[in-house]
Amino acid sequence: MGRTLVQKLWDAHTVADLGDDATLLYMDRVFLHERTGSVSLKGLESAGRKVRNPEQVFCTMDHIVDTLPGRGDDTIMPSGKDFITTTRAAANAAGITLFDIGDDRQGIVHVVSAEQGITLPGLTQVCPDSHTCTLGALGALAWGIGSTEGEHALATKTLAVNKPKSMRISFDGELGFGVTAKDMILHLIGAYTAAGGVGHAIEFAGSAIRSLPQENRFTVCNMAVEFAAFTGLIPPDDTTIEYVHGRPYAPTGKTWDAAVDYWRTLQADDDATYDKDISIDCADIVPTVTWGNSPGHTVQIDGAVPDPSNAPDANTQTSWARALEYMDLKPGMPIEGVPIDAAFIGSCTNSRIADLREVVKVVKGRRVAEGVKAIVVPGSSQVKLAAEAEGIDKALVEAGFEWRESGCSMCFYAGGESFGDQERVISSTNRNFENRQGPRTRTHLASPTSVAASALAGKIADVRKLG
């Protein structure tokens, strides 16, 4: 029987079969950040254990670090500096490469890992961060773990893993005007719920996936975890290989040629079968936003907030009713036109140069609405430099956006900064949980261009109408 891509990567990394569907897998890369990686390093240190192969372990500052211009180790959060200084000391002691504050390779872990060529097709990679699945877009088997498992990966170069079930999700057809990768993944989670992928490793397939530029593929895989999946992957193709070529840690010369030959084999066999198959016609996808507190609480931009009395089951009914109250919305009201207090563009979902270029097309020559706090945080210091070289920062600032240093920032109160009490935010991030972006903050997830259009309108807007 043919093998899936995940099965091939699983087989290629099997150190030992532990029985009962558990495998000891070799870990090619471990990435850490200052919020959870610091705990892993400190835990190892106190156990008197060492990082095995520190040359394959990397660390960045993104979760706690401030994103205001002129930042240092201090944060608004009083104890934030503890995370930063502890991480720096532990990383240096362990001999791992750290992309520290002020280093032009610093940035959000999953953005920089791809950007620097640290993640390559076919690798296994873990990080104590749930959005590690982002890197599956390069055809790597990458997933998020806890800090204790992080210690295990650091100390042994392996992890004991129970094998996930397999799922293939095919997106076919063409994306309509104003419809983005973010809308694809929100559409999927909305249709199949935030628990729809539980226990599965997903392979994204189909013509629409194959035509996505590499940077947009990261957006799709980023939210696999919001679908409760173990991870999500896209098989490597010319787009992937072109993206990886020439990156600082990518192979060169004859090794590059050998790597490419190998990467070409990383496709599911034609006769591979999956535990679950989902097909989505991209003609059904329009710009999508969330109205509630689960990434599955989605609505089409031209649609209405749902009525709990129409919920498919009792759990959904309770969840919708609670979310409506938290979000201060009424059943049946159109989502388009809901007034906003703030707009945020950033995070490991949507903060890359391709995202910012699209945003600039929307905002150029226009102004953010009066009273709306609009913030753009580039995903990495490299993205920031590239954007500034193209004048993207100027265009954004002229339109009324704040332009910041890179990091996770206001996706979740990083560094202690948050949106105000009960403020309504439209956000290019991945989680609309209660209190995620600030105390009682009401988050609406959307694509970066939908966020930009809404910032201009001062209310949730249909980017297609800006033309």
Partner: protein, 220 residues
């Protein structure tokens, strides 16, 4: 205790063992309870696994988070549920962020077992590595458990037997649950997984030796 940070190196690492447990159970019957809800970002104040329980469910548990004013309606603020060692919840419990702080907070509070129809994958793994047993049971069973937990209050004792993979509710109804053998072993034996893996060092080194030839570009 595994993960505690003493001053010197801790050479004998063991985790708290889990065999059987008898306790009242606190139902928080929402679906998709995320780890941001279990431990909000602003409650993760230092590089430590300790002192997190005061921030557990902070946004639900307190009416004033900063002043730590308890919400009398929140189940864990009510007797006998304040002392519950078992949580009952809806599907996809512990979804979202990988923050193990969620598990450390629950553990420090005294939770030893969570029963729900399904769990966030990373949260599940974090539980078994910290001596907390995640039990997946059908939704109808969990809902019935929640009803008897609330109805019986202090007399509604649930009994969990991990070696025989059985949960018995206060009305005497027993239900089998599945758990991966490796996870079960880790919980029952309280073993240190790193120590176990390092016993296979020869295999790890042999893998690397072969792999370096096959995939030289991996080895920086």
């Amino acid at each position: 205790m595994y993960g505690s940070w003493g001053k010197g190196p801790v050479m004998t690492l063991t985790m708290q063992k889990f065999t059987t447990l008898s306790s009242v159970a606190a139902p928080i019957m929402r679906v998709n309870i995320d780890t941001d809800a279990i431990i909000p970002s602003r409650e993760m104040k230092g590089v430590t696994k300790d002192g997190l329980s005061v921030g557990m469910f902070a946004n639900w548990r307190y009416t004033d988070v900063d002043a730590r004013v308890e919400n009398p309606d929140f189940i864990l603020n009510k007797a006998p549920f304040r002392d519950a060692e078992i949580l009952l919840s809806g599907e996809n419990f512990g979804c979202g962020s990988s923050r193990e702080h969620a598990v450390w907070a629950l553990k420090e509070w005294g939770i030893r077992c969570v029963i729900a129809p399904s769990f966030g994958t990373i949260f599940f793994g974090n539980c078994v590595r910290n001596g907390i047993l995640p039990v997946a049971l059908p939704e109808t069973v969990v809902k019935a458990f929640a009803e008897s937990a609330e109805a019986g209050a202090q007399t509604a004792i649930f009994v969990i037997d991990l070696p025989s993979q059985m949960v018995t509710g206060p009305t005497g109804d027993s239900h089998d649950f599945d758990i991966a053998p490796a996870d079960k072993e880790m919980l029952v034996e309280g073993l240190d997984p790193i120590g176990l893996t390092l016993k296979r060092d020869d295999e790890i080194l042999a893998f690397r030796k072969t792999d370096e030839v096959k995939r030289p570009w991996v080895y920086l």
